[in-house]
């Protein structure tokens, strides 16, 4: 008898409003505390899948459950509670940052969760320190470099202390040191995590389990090291290990 999974996706299909179908029946079950890498070629549907995990894309077909709770775009109350549990770092930091200053942006989530005053300030400062952006607190986010925006985007979500952390290519555009620092941060968190990435060594470093999404369906699910050893599988899904790297 296992406990309720953190995330349960069953037979999920989705088409964009222009008629493009991106998901063709996806199944995925993630237990509490697992760290799962979501791999797959460009256009596989990874981002589309991620957007279903807190009801940003309404479930058109199939079902999505977060900690046993059904994600239903029509039920505003339950959506709110789901969104306080699932923190998503978007692939494009420009989609994530909207307040006039970095500090206010990071405060946004915790504020909505009822934090105020000194407690709020402390959360903001911690999150900024974590991603090394303390000096940028009063700068407008859209006046930062791409990599700096990415770091702030990560901080906005970490500040909410979600139960499930979903990251869509968090390491892209980060300089190598920041990339490692982010890995250290993520490893130190004791939460359920889904990470989309094209960086296979990064996936291996952080996640015991990997799934491969390709053409809108799941084509593999297993131990990361096992998957990365399966050359044929990788090749069929436009994945390759970097030259000189071996599992």
């Amino acid at each position: 008898m296992s406990s309720t999974p953190s995330l349960l996706i069953e037979n999920l299909a989705f088409a964009y409003p222009d008629g493009n179908q991106a998901l063709y029946g996806v199944n995925l079950k993630i237990e509490k505390g697992e760290r799962v890498a979501l791999l797959g070629p460009n256009g596989a549907g990874k981002t589309t899948l991620v957007m279903h995990m807190n009801g940003i894309h309404p479930t058109a077909h199939g079902k999505v459950e977060v900690a046993g709770q059904l994600v239903d775009a029509k039920d505003k109350e339950s959506l709110k509670s789901i969104r306080s549990k699932v923190g998503i770092v978007f692939q494009d930091p420009d989609d994530q940052l909207f307040m006039p200053t970095v500090g206010e942006d990071i405060a946004f989530g915790p504020y909505n969760m009822g934090k105020r005053g000194a407690e709020l300030a402390a959360i903001v400062d911690d999150a900024l320190r974590l991603v090394g952006m303390s000096e940028f607190k009063d700068r407008p986010p859209h006046h930062l470099s791409f990599g700096q925006r990415r770091r702030v985007a990560v901080a906005t979500v970490l500040a909410m202390k979600p139960e499930i952390l979903v990251l869509d290519e968090p390491s892209s555009n980060l300089d190598p040191a920041s990339r490692r620092e982010l890995a250290d941060i993520l490893r130190s968190l004791d939460i359920t995590m889904v990470m989309v990435t094209h960086d296979l060594p990064y996936a291996l470093e952080l996640c015991e389990r990997s799934v491969i999404l390709s053409g809108g369906v799941m084509v593999a699910d297993g131990n990361t090291a096992e998957i990365l050893k399966n050359d044929e599988l990788l090749k069929a899904n436009r994945l390759e290990l970097p030259v000189g790297f071996s599992v």
Binding site: A13, A15, P17, G25, N27, A73, M218
Partner: protein, 225 residues
């Protein structure tokens, strides 16, 4: 089209401000009814877009240029209620932040562009849509017609206000013919841009167009490997 302070006398301004306020109250009630998670930001975005395209000038003829009003466009995209609210917000911001349009004349300007332009344009849109076949390109054509007419309608509003409360000396008929004449030309520009914009939205996000009912597409399920 943005009337400055002192052009129309205070009593007239007050009357039109009251009329605008009524229209806004009506729109608020209407917009609340159709409100879902997305409508406020979408109306906000429409406001931004109108604000932006009012700055995007397009060449009309030999070195002259005009700008969009956006009333019909907004109505077709987000519905007339939200469109009136969006236009009002645009005019408020233009008045308070850019000094474009007098602060004592905001009621007048809202009436012309946010009420007459929006509802007039939307009415024409509905009429034209009714006579055309029910397909995507009809929406653009109907929107173009709405855009074309909305500009001279707004101009007529200006002329009415002029006739009632202006201190200027041009005869009302001269102003009427000049305003309507030039604004029909500008309306052509408005029609083209409205049609192209609505067409562009229809092409890729027809679900966003208020004046169009979307049918949901069928989903295909593939076997998991």
């Amino acid at each position: 089209m943005h009337i400055p302070d002192g052009f129309i006398d205070l009593p007239t301004s007050a009357v039109f401000a009251a009329a605008s306020a009524g229209a806004i109250a009506y729109s608020l009630a209407g917009a609340r009814k159709q409100l879902d998670e997305k409508s406020a930001p979408l109306a906000g975005l429409t406001a931004v877009f109108i604000f932006a395209v009012q700055m995007l000038n397009f060449p009309v003829a030999a070195g002259t240029s005009g700008h969009l009003l956006g009333g019909a466009l907004a109505a077709v995209l987000v519905g007339p209620y939200a469109a009136t609210l969006a236009l009002t917000v645009v005019l408020l911001m233009q008045g308070f932040l850019f000094a474009d349009g007098g602060l004592s004349a905001i009621g007048l300007n809202v009436f012309n562009m946010g009420v007459l332009g929006v509802w007039g344009g939307y009415a024409v849109f509905l009429l034209v849509r009714k006579v055309l076949p029910k397909n995507k390109s009809s929406i653009s054509i109907a929107a173009a017609a709405g855009g074309l007419i909305s500009v001279p309608i707004a101009a007529v509003g200006f002329v009415i206000q002029y006739a009632i409360g202006a201190t200027a000396t041009f005869s009302v008929s001269a102003v009427l013919s000049a305003m309507v004449g030039t604004h029909i030309l500008i309306g052509i520009g408005e029609a083209i841009i409205t049609a192209l914009t609505v067409g562009a939205v229809m092409a890729s996000r027809s679900d966003l167009v208020f004046g169009w009912k979307n049918e949901t597409s069928k989903l295909e399920i593939r076997a998991q490997k």
